[in-house]
Amino acid sequence: MAFQLKVNGDTRAVDVDGDTPLLWALRDELDLTDTKFGCGIAMCGACTVYVDGFPTRSCVTMVDSVGDSEITTIDGLEGKAAEAVQKAWNDLQVPQCGYCQSGQIMAAASLLAETPKPSDADIDAAMDGNVCRCATYHRIRAAIHRAADMMEG
């Protein structure tokens, strides 16, 4: 079945069954492989995209539920918070294997866009759904604070 998906500002057609998770439509049909697969059940955040600006688990969002919502992957991520987050991630050398990090960055950029000066508790609340099996959490926390400082400065 054909669906029109609005992804990163473009409208793209995918021909899949309606119960196909958005994650696989993005990856396999549209070659947007920067969004990763970790669990398939909304427990890890590796597949995080924005749907109408909200961080969403694309692995449990079926294509037929998306309608004409705007989808943003890390490929289309932009803005002050996103730039600060990516710079802080580099400055503090956050990634290890890196596999979870596009999801982490999507979550962190969204947090900072909403809450420019997050506390540790804010960070825990916003980031607890994003698993990092390499346990880079210590640096993720520090990098979010760093990015917040950069945005201020």
């Binding site: 899949v16 492989t33 970790g38 990634p95």
Partner: protein, 735 residues
């Protein structure tokens, strides 16, 4: 779209593994490299100018890029950048001209020097075994570039200096590496190039050297096996027996085949494989297979029963692996005997990237794309399955989204299953080459076995009236990881699997009378090394026992360790540093407590002090871990810190709440909702201090893990008097 600016770079840098183009000049220079020679013929240079390969590890491109070939998999531990650091330092390259890619599978060139004839990554051995080899590779290339520049200038090598990738004549004239690489290639290869002395290092030990792979990893770069797409590729999902050792009796694929996108269903030795044009139909249809299993040869025990058997075995004598003095007599004469039993569950590695592999087979040769951690075994198993030569299996090693040991498999079942499907399809398709990706789901991973095995330890330790340790009797019960694998000959001696007892055997503590015994059990659940292997349970037992003894003897836990480690200066070094930095002995606010642990693994010494705090309900949180590490020369200090942070998180995360249990042989857990990973709210702050050392570098991927859980357990005891002898800690409320 500023975030995308480095995406193109990313692709070219990291896909270089299959993009390397080499011309004739390069080929002439290769040292004993038939495989690279073949690759060179196959590839077409993108431009007229040729890349020049100086040796198996170093390529210089016409644009001055230095490409370092990593013989080791990088699954997050920073090895690729580490190896590049070694080459770049000796070569005096500028860090921003350096790229890294993975070497092809070729054990003749790229074997792990600690393992003999195998190419592979594990045991925190990547930097230690490569330290001299990669430095020498850089130094050789540098000597040849210098000589070529000297000839160009009509002078001698001693008039040429190299700094940050620039060759400079004493007159001030300069040349870039790429300017003379082709000429350098024709020169004799120096046998013994002069290596730098440590005071001459410019990149080794440098504090703010960024990892080469970090930037691509902040844009979701398509560098993983998950991201590989070949023309006409089919995605396979495999239904495996729900009980280990089961086999397919019969199956009905009618429903599975009705799923849009499914093109075939094939039976292979591993189970039933569904092939589809993309990932989702394959995963979905796999769950619609109706399979009748034959469990006659399967493991059907549950973990409760296995545990009961282990506990009863712990009460009977085992095979002695260490005997010093007479522990029975010492315990009989002791003023006090502390007896404790510890239980450890099966643990899944659960790397973030679910397991995956891509294979193509044309009837004569096979090509594989995967995070290959034991390339030589992967080649062997693929070739045996397909009936071709191991050298006809080309492996493109890709960045892996974690491993923690899971991709280093003695039976290479990940690629083996892919080869089984390739073989089945090859027969069916009349020899047509069919690219296949095998994609594991998280459920396949959690239920898939190859776990850190279950263990039970029973220890009796005696102290005399003055609180001195007089004897220790230690029994370990658990399955052998290595028996029956290609690694048995090297690591199992007289029936003792070294990985079952490492960390207890040869303990550095001065224990006058010691007996160590092992019961090696037979369990049908495949076991595997899991970040730090045997040390994951042995360090826990040794370090929490030490605290039990300190408490019984009325001694401070750090003081007791100092006393027993007085002849182990490197243990003492990290212990003292961690204690000092953590403020050991200084008062803490109410509701907070500290615990300590020190352990050597993979030749690196690590001490940690954990600080925990308790809430009103008695639940605790680990707030802070102060870590001291002595790993010899610190090649990449920031990466050492990162590995300590990650290792501590891995150790504490699993100790908090992870276990794999079985009911009647079937795994109870299936995904991250019931094998709940450590999350950011569980993570302590970590402060790592690296001891300055001129000793040969040792590994850091694993040694951060073993002391973490016992340091936390000791902190909990210090606060509450409660002993955590059953892992995970989440069992504590149950009794």
């Amino acid at each position: 779209m500023t975030v995308l600016k480095n995406k193109a770079d990313t692709l070219s840098v990291n896909r270089r593994g299959f993009l390397i183009a080499m011309g004739g000049a390069g080929a002439g220079l290769m040292i004993g490299s038939s495989l690279i020679g073949k690759a060179a013929e196959a590839a077409t240079p993108a431009t007229g100018a040729a890349d020049v390969q100086f040796n198996p590890f170093v390529i210089v491109k016409p644009d001055n890029t230095v490409v370092v070939l990593s013989k080791h998999l990088d699954k997050g531990q920073g090895t690729a950048s580490g190896l590049a650091t070694l080459v770049a330092d000796e070569l005096d390259a500028a860090w921003d001209q350096v790229e890294v890619t993975f070497a092809p599978a070729n054990a003749a060139l790229y074997n792990n020097l600690q393992w003999g004839p195998y190419q592979g990554t594990g045991g925190s051995s990547a930097i230690p075994n490569s330290f001299m080899q990669y430095r020498k590779a850089g130094a050789t290339a540098k000597a040849m570039l210098v000589e070529a520049a000297a000839r160009r200038w009509g002078t001698t090598a001693d008039r040429v200096t190299v700094r940050e990738g620039v060759l400079t004549h004493s007159s001030g004239e300069t040349l870039a590496f790429g300017d003379v690489a082709a000429e350098a290639a024709g020169l004799p290869v120096p046998e013994d190039p002069v290596l730098k002395t440590p005071d001459q290092f410019t990149l080794i030990g440098k504090e703010d050297l960024p990892r080469l792979d970090v930037k691509p990893k902040t844009v979701g770069a398509p560098i993983f096996t998950l991201d590989v797409k070949r023309d006409g590729m089919l995605v396979a999902a495999i239904a495996r027996s729900p009980k280990f050792g089961g086999a397919v009796a019969s199956f009905d694929a009618t429903e599975a085949k009705a799923v849009n996108g499914v093109v075939d269903v094939v039976q292979i030795p591993a189970g039933i494989a569904v092939l589809a044009t993309s990932t989702w139909p394959a995963l979905k249809a796999k769950d619609l297979l109706d399979i009748e299993w034959d469990f006659s040869a399967a493991e059907t025990r549950g973990t409760d029963r296995i545990l009961a058997e282990y506990r009863s075995l712990a009460g009977t004598p085992g095979q002695v692996f260490q005997q010093d003095g007479d522990s029975e007599a010492a315990l009989a004469g002791a003023a006090q005997v502390i007896e404790s039993e510890f239980t450890f569950p099966f643990l899944a590695h659960a790397p973030m990237e679910p397991l995956d592999v891509v294979i193509e087979f044309d009837g004569k040769t096979a090509e594989i794309w995967t995070g290959s951690q034991l390339q030589t075994v992967d080649q062997y198993v693929t070739s045996a399955t397909l009936g071709i030569e191991p050298t006809d299996v080309k492996i493109n090693t890709l960045w892996a989204g974690g491993s923690f040991g899971r991709r280093a498999i003695y039976d290479s079942h990940i690629v083996g299953e892919a080869a089984q499907i390739a073989k089945a399809l090859h027969l069916k398709n009349g020899g047509k080459k069919q690219p296949i990706k095998v994609q594991w789901s998280r459920e396949d991973d959690i239920k898939g076995g190859y776990y850190r095995p279950m263990y039970v330890h029973r220890v009796r330790a005696g102290i005399d009236a003055e609180g001195r340790l007089v004897g220790w009797h230690h029994r370990i019960v658990g399955q052998s990881i290595l028996t029956g694998t290609p690694f048995e000959a090297a690591l199992v001696h007289n029936g003792i699997d070294h990985t079952s007892v490492e960390g207890v055997m040869g303990s550095p503590y001065a224990i006058p009378n010691f007996t160590g015994e092992l019961h090696t059990t037979k369990v049908g659940v495949p076991g595997l090394w899991w970040r730090a292997v045997g040390h994951t349970h042995t360090a826990y037992v040794m370090e929490t026992m030490l605290d039990e003894i300190a408490a019984a003897a009325g001694k401070d836990p750090v003081a007791l360790r100092r006393e027993l480690l007085k002849d182990s200066p490197r243990h003492l070094g990290v212990l003292n540093l961690a204690a000092e930095k953590a403020g050991w002995g200084t008062p803490l606010p109410a509701g907070k407590a500290r615990g300590v642990a020190v352990h050597k693994s993979f030749e690196s010494y690590v001490a940690q002090v954990a600080e925990v705090s308790f809430d009103a309900e008695g639940d605790f949180k680990v707030d802070r871990v102060v870590c001291a590490v002595d790993c010899g020369v610190a090649v990449n200090p920031d990466n050492i810190r990162a590995q300590m942070e990650g290792g501590i998180g891995y150790g504490i995360g699993h100790a908090l709440r992870n276990e794999i249990t079985l009911t009647d042989g079937e795994v109870d857990q299936s995904n991250f909702h019931d094998y709940e990973p450590m999350r950011i709210s569980d993570m302590p702050t970590v402060e790592t201090h690296i001891l300055a050392s001129a000793a040969a570098p040792t590994g850091v991927g694993e040694p951060g893990t073993p002391p973490a859980a016992p340091a936390v357990a000791n902190a909990v005891f210090s606060a509450t008097g409660e002993r955590l002898r059953t892992l995970p800690f989440s069992k504590r409320s149950l009794g």
